[in-house]
């Protein structure tokens, strides 16, 4: 058989620019998106776009100026959020979104720092960073998109994959139970813990706006369909069918004990705002226990010298 190759045409930079100009601004949310980055690469039926939209809506609702808003994400499908948002965004190495964001939050406490990342990024390779940031109560807003697998690398098992669920590396069923993320965040010391699915976009907007207004470590889990990595091996069908599944299986229980929030395969699970509390954040404690004491000691020394 003779293969005919298409002629390679030169990349027309000007035409590409005008196409971007024409497309950008058609949607009101485009103000928050980098020109030329939409359509994003996420699969049809993927829930990540819904979580991104709800985050934009929450920023708009709180009227946070764009130059005060920082988004840090790790690696994964979710990590690509940093590339789409038109604000100060950082796409860090795998699992290191939280340490990077901690540095930002401490260096410039004026900034509203959001960590937007996947379950694999935050709880597998980055698990230790998350629990210590929560313990210290660093002023970070964590949005964890949970799709129960490593989406980007081909649907491997993640620490959130429920027991018996199939993934590309557990073709006969997962032998390990998954993490209960709200319980873990609560135990580690987060002051605000919520979980919603992408079927609950309004509640998600509400929770993210509440979290953006808090001072301290907040954790919002957004369960999202991943038809490619998780839906297919588990026979959940398309993204839409997975959304229907979450509609039927989720039970809203605000203020419930996060211990009950465990997710089992094909069983009902609870969603809601589990915890909304206050405690001094890291900078406050640091100022009180270190900075002010060192300063008062210095003053005593200076007085001694003068006398």
């Amino acid at each position: 058989m003779k293969v005919r190759l298409r002629d390679i045409s030169q990349f027309d930079k000007e035409a590409a620019e005008t196409a971007i100009q024409k497309d950008h601004g058609l949607h009101p949310d485009d103000r928050f998106l980098k020109p030329g980055r939409i359509p994003h690469i996420w699969c049809p039926g993927c829930g990540l776009g819904v979580v991104l939209t709800t985050f934009i809506e929450a920023v708009r609702r709180n009227q946070i100026p764009i130059d005060k808003c920082v988004v840090v994400s790790g690696i994964g499908c979710t990590g690509r959020v940093a590339g789409y948002l038109d604000m100060d965004t950082y796409h860090t190495t795998h699992g290191r979104a939280i340490p990077f964001a901690t540095g930002l939050a401490l260096a410039n406490p004026e900034m509203s720092v959001t960590v937007f990342s996947g379950d694999g990024d935050l709880f597998a390779i980055g698990g230790n960073h998350l629990i210590h940031a929560a313990r210290r109560n660093v002023n970070l807003k964590v949005i964890c998109v949970n799709n129960f697998n490593f989406g980007m690398t081909g649907g491997q098992v993640a620490p959130t994959t429920p027991l018996e669920a199939r993934t590309s590396t557990t073709p006969t069923g997962n032998a390990e139970p998954g993490f209960n993320l709200p319980y873990l965040a609560h135990a580690a010391g987060a002051i605000y813990v919520a979980r919603w699915t992408t079927f609950h976009p309004r509640q998600l907007v509400h929770s993210i706006s509440q979290a953006l207004n808090k001072k301290g470590f907040t954790f919002v889990e957004a369960i999202a369909p991943c038809p490619t990595g998780y839906g297919r091996p588990n026979k959940l069908g398309s993204g839409l069918e997975e959304m229907r599944f979450y509609r039927d299986m989720s039970e809203i229980r605000n203020g419930a004990d996060p211990k009950l929030a465990e997710i089992k395969l094909r069983q009902r699970f609870i969603v809601g705002t589990f915890l909304d509390s206050e405690r001094p954040d890291f900078l406050e404690n640091y100022d009180k226990n270190v900075v002010s004491r060192v300063k008062s000691k210095q003053k005593v020394k200076e007085k001694g010298k003068a006398a």
């Binding site: 497309d23 949607h27 949310d29 359509p39 049809p44 039926g45 993204g239």
Partner: protein, 112 residues
């Protein structure tokens, strides 16, 4: 069901009417907006867009859209949004329509 009068506070309320804008070339045909629009305003069109997906289109009366904004919130592709066209006064007709709708006599609701 017919009511013998309008609710006493009908003057204080209005029915928002939305205009739906669909950016067809961005749609990936996931069907979220079609499935979850509370008023069943959208359906899948027979057309293909440039990517080869079927974008949504409006069902018969566009006046059913109450500009709740759910479709633009649930669309993962930034492909649909709504605009407030006008806030309409409540009439007896509307009350009747709403009561039949929520009594599930409306075909669009029984099918789900």
């Amino acid at each position: 069901m017919k009511f013998w009068r309008l609710p006493l506070d009908a003057e204080a309320h209005s029915i928002p009417q939305g205009m739906v804008h669909i950016i067809e070339s961005r749609c990936k045909g996931c069907g979220f907006c079609i499935e979850f629009c509370p008023n069943g305003c959208l359906k899948q069109s027979k057309r293909f867009n440039v990517k080869g997906y079927h974008p949504p289109e409006l069902i018969f009366q566009a006046e059913d859209c109450v500009e709740c904004g759910l479709c633009s919130l649930i669309c993962p592709e930034f492909a649909i949004f709504t605009e407030l066209k006008e806030a309409k006064k409540i009439t007896e007709n509307d009350i009747e329509k709403v009561t039949t709708r929520y009594s599930r006599k409306d075909k669009r609701y029984t099918k789900r």
